[in-house]
């Protein structure tokens, strides 16, 4: 898959993830009475002490992360596509995001013994972004393919 297509995929997935994160953030801020949670234990997970990281709600970090990845992927569609600094930033962001997502999923599975549907969706989106970004190729400095 070309560099351009991968960036486009990241923009679209990042946008969906951004909405998921904003939804959870608004819930934590008290805008919604209850989470729409078809399956799983969203309330339990969101009410847990692990729903905050470094004193801030996890969805806030998620919102910032998705917005950041979205911005970088957008840049990857423009004139700076394939720039070393952009690829390095993307590689760093998606790897960090995947690790944090794995940490949160681990908390859900092994400590809380409860899964939040939205967190699972976000974890899948984060993984998809990681796969699309292919940080191993970005760091290797492969030339951007066009088309």
């Amino acid at each position: 898959m070309s560099y351009d297509k991968r960036m486009r995929g990241m923009v679209l997935i990042g946008l969906v993830g951004l909405f998921v994160a904003v939804y959870l953030l608004l819930y934590q801020m008290g805008f919604y009475g209850a989470l729409l949670c078809g399956a799983g234990s969203c309330e339990l997970v969101q009410a847990s002490k692990y729903a905050r990281f470094l004193g801030q709600p996890v969805p806030l970090w998620g919102t910032l992360w998705y917005a950041g990845v979205l911005a970088l992927a957008f840049l990857g569609l423009g004139p700076v596509a394939g720039a070393r600094w952009l690829d390095a930033l993307l590689a760093l962001a998606v790897t960090g995001g995947l690790m944090f997502s794995a940490y949160l999923t681990g908390i859900e599975l092994f400590i809380l013994h409860a899964l939040c549907m939205w967190c699972v969706i976000s974890a899948v989106l984060t993984t998809a972004i990681f796969v699309l970004a292919q940080p191993w190729r970005l760091l290797r400095g492969s030339p951007p393919a066009t088309g």
């Binding site: 946008l15 909405f19 919604y32 009475g33 309330e43 009410a47 002490k49």
Partner: protein, 229 residues
């Protein structure tokens, strides 16, 4: 080639616009109506509401025309918001006027919710359940950050003018765990699955609206009182 790319680019931005529109619409929809809040009757799979309310903590006249039962969890963010925006105000404005009797039940949803519920019940032994409840919700960010929260609970008891020694012995010894168990068991028997859950004169209701039900509940109280029911 250039044309194909331009066409593809156009399609891509249309796709982005579609995601933004759909996402924004869903976010607004999830927020519920911005109009006046209302109480929506809901069906629960539980049993007889009036069976046993003794595990709750009541405030207000026993013969009040309105009885509101509230099931909450101290770690549930919406219980905190509901208590701050509605519960506390309703108790202040209507429990002392004879219009409403309010009964709070502790419904801990997960293991770490039990300690504050036990603490609230320990405060109840000294006649300050609701004061402790308000304090626990107001300071949840402090006591929920890990470790044993009992030391902070004792500080809160001191702030409320309770006998700190008796309170400490109560929370450390988990002396009120049976009360919390009974309260939770009552909620389970009613079929409660989430918090906050509210019953207005034995009818389970879902809270909707921006003020977490204050306006709607107040309206219902006034209607019942005016109707002489």
């Amino acid at each position: 080639m250039a044309n194909a790319k331009a066409t593809g680019g156009k399609g891509f931005y249309i796709l982005i616009a579609a995601v933004v529109v759909v996402g924004g619409f869903l976010l607004l929809r999830a927020g519920g109506s911005t109009e006046a809040p209302n109480l929506t009757p809901i069906a629960l799979a539980g049993g007889d509401v009036a069976a046993d309310m003794s595990s709750g903590t009541a405030i207000g006249a026993e013969d009040a025309p309105v009885v509101i039962m509230e099931f909450s969890d101290f770690l549930c963010p919406h219980c905190r918001t509901f208590n701050g925006l509605s519960g506390k105000l309703l108790r202040q404005n209507y429990a002392n006027t004879g219009s409403m009797r309010w009964i709070s039940f502790d419904f801990p949803l997960w293991p770490e919710s039990w300690a504050p519920a036990i603490a609230a019940q320990c405060a109840k032994r000294q006649g300050k359940y609701f004061e402790m409840k308000d304090l626990l919700f107001a300071r949840v960010d402090s006591w929920s950050q890990g470790g044993n929260p009992n030391r902070k609970f004792v500080d809160y008891a001191r702030d409320l003018g309770l006998d700190a020694g008796a309170f400490k012995s109560c929370v450390d010894g988990q002396e009120t765990v049976a009360e919390v168990q009974a309260s939770r068991a009552y909620g389970e028997a009613l079929g409660i699955q989430s918090t906050p859950s509210i019953f207005f004169n034995d009818e389970p209701f879902q809270l909707t609206g921006g003020d977490y039900g204050y306006g709607a509940i107040e309206e219902q109280i006034k209607a019942v009182v005016a109707g002489g029911e």
